[in-house]
Amino acid sequence: MTAPALRVNGTAVVDTFAEAFAMWGARVIITAETGEWARAAAQSMTGFATSIIGCKCEAGIEAELAGGETPDGRPGVSVLLFSTSAEGVGKRLLERVGQCVMTCPSTACYNGLAAEETVVVGGQLRYFGDKFQMSKVMGGRRFWRVPVMDGEFVVDDRFGIQKAVGGGNILILGRDQTATLRAAEAAVAAMRGTPGAILPFPGGVVRSGSKPKSRYSFLFASTNDAYCPTLRAVASASEVPAEAGSVLEIVIDGLDLAAVETAMRRGLHAAAAAGALQITAGNYGGGLGQYQIALRPLLEPVGAAT
């Protein structure tokens, strides 16, 4: 068991690191006649996108945007979507923009990432227009206008993609479920709105953290028994202190490492301020992920480094 060696606001912080992985990411700007409809499309698009393990992508709402911040001047929502390959991002965007955004009343969908590499989205969705679709080029950028029953669906021909970082995380340990939830909620509130980062799990929090192996041959991931309080007495290498009764994890995906680190820093300090018993991070010994994000440098006050 790793001994806590650091402290923030009375909360023990394990001197360890989060192990994160190389991914590919995209930013999608969804606009609509009202913020409510833009949010409805964004929530649909980011549904069932918690973990690459079962959902083929991870996605979340990055920010809500005022009219002056969107391409067409209407209220909008910024969504980030991640997958393990450039091709995977392209496929998931095509599916989710087509099924979740194009279907939503009054929406339009724009690329929000200036990147060298791109994937075709509108250029594929246009075929839904059954040869009634029209394209418009503006300043070298091509849009497609697909006729739909409430008017037209406008979508960018191509969306930028870039290498990204997935799986940044913090683990919050509390005395009981209520206290741990309170600390996790405080962390999520502080982490949301970090530019370039999203928290893909429900409410930003995951309780079924996993390890990358299983006793069953047909599974490649299973429950993280080392952090299950109920297994403290039987797990071979439990990391749960005797005084801890609940553990929650917050996973962060970001368009770059700095965004993930910023979100982790904000979450760590907020959870500590909200009374977390201990904060640590999930890793696999450093042998799987391309990135190791140490918690120690994140102990600096939020304002000093973000």
Partner: protein, 276 residues
């Protein structure tokens, strides 16, 4: 660093000065520039017989004077920038593929005829056949942008296949005739028979217009695409109002004598169509 060409002798008959392009003048001395050949009527002449040459090549080219009889300035240019201080003659920027031409005054016929890229800005009025195909050809401009801050003559955007043509004032008859695709935005009034023979493409006007009988009214709606396009034009300096950006537009589909995939969008402003 600019190269200044100032008209000192107005030609009695038109001269064809397609040598006035950034790539043609690049690297030339002032003397070499003055000795470039232009066609004066049916004779050959030197550029210096009409223009005083000063400054240095390599940057913008400023052409000054009444150039109404100086044709083909910037024709075929691919890069760089030409600024015309005065009136530009016919065929300005015809066939250009890139770069920018700015005319501080008005321009003659055939502005940007058959151009494929770049941008032409005319602060005043433009003549007929803006962005049009030459006689015998079906395809007009295939890319780039033409912005006319005044009015444009007849057959603006004729045979247009790609690109943007924006006219702040009125446009003449047959705007977008035989249009194949692309976008024409007219902030003033359209002349007679807009979009005649158009296959695809978009013509937008901020005023009512008399539609040909081969155009059919579809609906009135708020096109999201105009919420992108019109602010873009405003960013280029055109006087776009918020009412135009937010407004409802009649959609007319046509031309039924052709492919019938074109559209004319008319801002619903409460005005009645002008008498034919």
């Amino acid at each position: 660093m600019t190269l200044d060409l100032t008209l000192h002798t107005a030609p009695a008959v038109p001269i064809e000065a397609e040598v006035i392009t950034p790539s043609r003048l690049a690297g030339l001395s002032l003397l070499e520039t003055a000795k470039l050949t232009v066609v004066h009527g049916n004779q050959s002449a030197e550029l210096g017989e009409f223009f005083r040459v000063a400054g240095a090549a390599g940057g913008d080219i400023h052409v000054s004077g009444d150039l109404a009889r100086v044709k083909l300035v910037g024709a075929g240019m691919a890069e760089g920038r030409i600024v015309v201080h005065g009136t530009a003659g016919m065929h300005l920027g015809a066939g250009m593929t890139g770069g920018e031409i700015v005319v501080e005054g008005s321009a003659g016929d055939w502005v940007g005829a058959e151009m494929t890229g770049g941008r032409i800005i005319v602060r005043g009025d433009a003549g007929h056949m803006v962005g049009a195909p030459y006689r015998g050809s079906r395809i007009g401009m295939q890319g780039g942008e033409i912005l006319i801050f005044g009015t444009a003559g007849n057959e603006a955007g004729s045979g247009m296949r790609r690109g943007l043509l924006a006219i702040a004032g009125d446009s003449g008859d047959f705007t977008g005739v035989n249009m194949l695709a692309g976008t024409i935005a007219v902030l003033g009034r359209l002349g007679w028979r807009p979009g005649a023979g158009m296959r695809r493409g978009t013509i937008v006007s901020m005023h009512p217009a008399e539609m040909l009988p081969t155009f059919a009214y579809a609906c009135t709606f708020r096109p999201v695409i105009l919420r992108l396009y019109l602010p873009y034009l405003r960013g280029l300096g055109l006087p776009i109002t918020e009412a135009q950006v937010q407004g409802s537009y009649q959609r007319w589909c046509g031309d039924a004598v052709e492919l019938n995939r074109g559209e004319i969008l008319l801002l619903e402003s409460g005005e009645t169509p002008a008498a034919a």
